[in-house]
Amino acid sequence: MRRALRHGIALAFAVLWAFPLYLVVINAATPAEEYAEKPFWALPSSFGLWENAVTAWQAAELGQSVGSTLLYAVGGGGAAVLLAASAAFAIIGLRIRYGFAWFMLLYAGTIFPFQMYLAPLFNAYSKVGLYDTRVGLLLIYTAITIPFAVFVLRNHFSGIPRELLESARIDGAASWTVLSRIYLPLSTNALAAVFVFQFTFIWNDLLFGLTLSRSAEVRPIMTALAVLQGQYASTSLPAVLAGALVASIPTFVLFLALQKLFVQAIAGVEK
């Protein structure tokens, strides 16, 4: 009886969450001319998701945004992970002086709301010609993802036995060799996890794109989506919905891929 009640309530929440998703997907797939006549919950007569996505793609020049955003997410996320690994190695492996103070300085970047950086970045970018450039966005995305990466990698590096570093030192290995031959290879999982996390963060960012870019070539995907919503929501809603779904595919795929690992972890305990 109790178990039946649990199933009932859980099912109610599942339906409550799934229903909006269902509405969004079928309406994103509704051909534009059919949208006004069909009830919201009814299936469309033909599956027009692809046509609608193409309309959105052209209207907001999403193609260019996707390319630029890939560059920011891979380049910025990758650079941040490497720079953070190097800094975490200096703090934990090489035990530099005031290591904890340096860590706090780097970590401070995640504490404050991004609003604290926006106005000076905008002014400075406009002055030095970085406003509305891919380089400008790549730089800020690298900087903004370093603090969290340092936080995770510092924790991870403290779990690596010091004997490894010391014996490599006795064999005459330089710091650089210790980092690239010992610390990085022993941390591939942590490095990959941080990279995926930062990739997702950059891919999903709206605020920096909104503030520091304007043109269709430079602006990241979520900013392009916000523009699309502002301009076309009243004329072609299915296209806007399709655009939002297509823009979410990369993070969705990453999420599902990692979900597998996650489910394994859950299933292992739920026995």
């Binding site: 199933h7 929440f13 530099i96 709206l206 919905l241 939002a244 859950i266 305990v269």
Partner: protein, 305 residues
Amino acid sequence: MAKIHQGEDTTSAKQKRTLGKLLSGLDSQRFLWPAVAFVGVFLILPFLWTVYLSMTEYGGLGEPNFVGFANYSRLVQDPILIRSLVNTLLWVIGSLVLPVGVGLLVAVLTFNLAGGFFYRLPVLLPYALSGAAVGVLWSFMLESEGAINGILAAVGLETLTRDWLLAAPLNTLSMILASSWQATGVSLVLFLVGLQAIPREPIEAARVDGAQGWALFWNITLPLLRPMTIVVIGLALVNSLKVFDIIWVMTQGGPSRSSETLAVTMYRQTFLLFEYGYGSAIAVLLSVIVVLASWLYLRRALRSV
């Protein structure tokens, strides 16, 4: 004399050693500098410049004009600030009740339940969407001509249709619902991880003593889940204070600034009204609130663990 000489000898040896240490220290610091340079130039300098700008009047051209605390005294008298603070507070309360509460409920309900994964999946999926995408999807749901009103009217519930996004405080509450649809997945995941970490013995012991259902949950499971609850609530608190994306896409803080939060007010004042000084003062206020809230929360939460 000899003594002094000896002393000098030690000093110079010490100096040499210190120099050696310093050089190897510099060598080690090369690994730190690139990250520090990035964070310093792109985050710390802008941070300090924002604090300075908050004490100036600046329209973006020429030089900032130092005005002391004038922006702050204007801020405390600004009616927009009150509305913005009230909305931000609504977001905080809503985010603590809905995503955290429902996440906990679904986690406890489906943990160790046959087929629990399939109940959880719909709640988990929206977490893969960005704030901007969720804003687009829920605009479609909540606009006056949108899906929710359309469906309510079709099933004969016209009396329940509303202009969800057009008046305060309903527009903020509606957007909190939209945001909860996305954010519940995170709390659900974290609470599940927390539930797995709970040892079985105390629960079994309590069962043997006759505790079950609500009493078991309230007296045994929830206290054991506390370390994870602290994390989930902390995350929800900080994220709700900073909320921007979903509001920007759905209402841009409107109509007539009725759904602005501090983060949105800062953006509008700075980049739409070009008041860099005043906008910076709002950014500083938001930072103070975020840091103070996190600090007070962590102090309280960690002390009573």
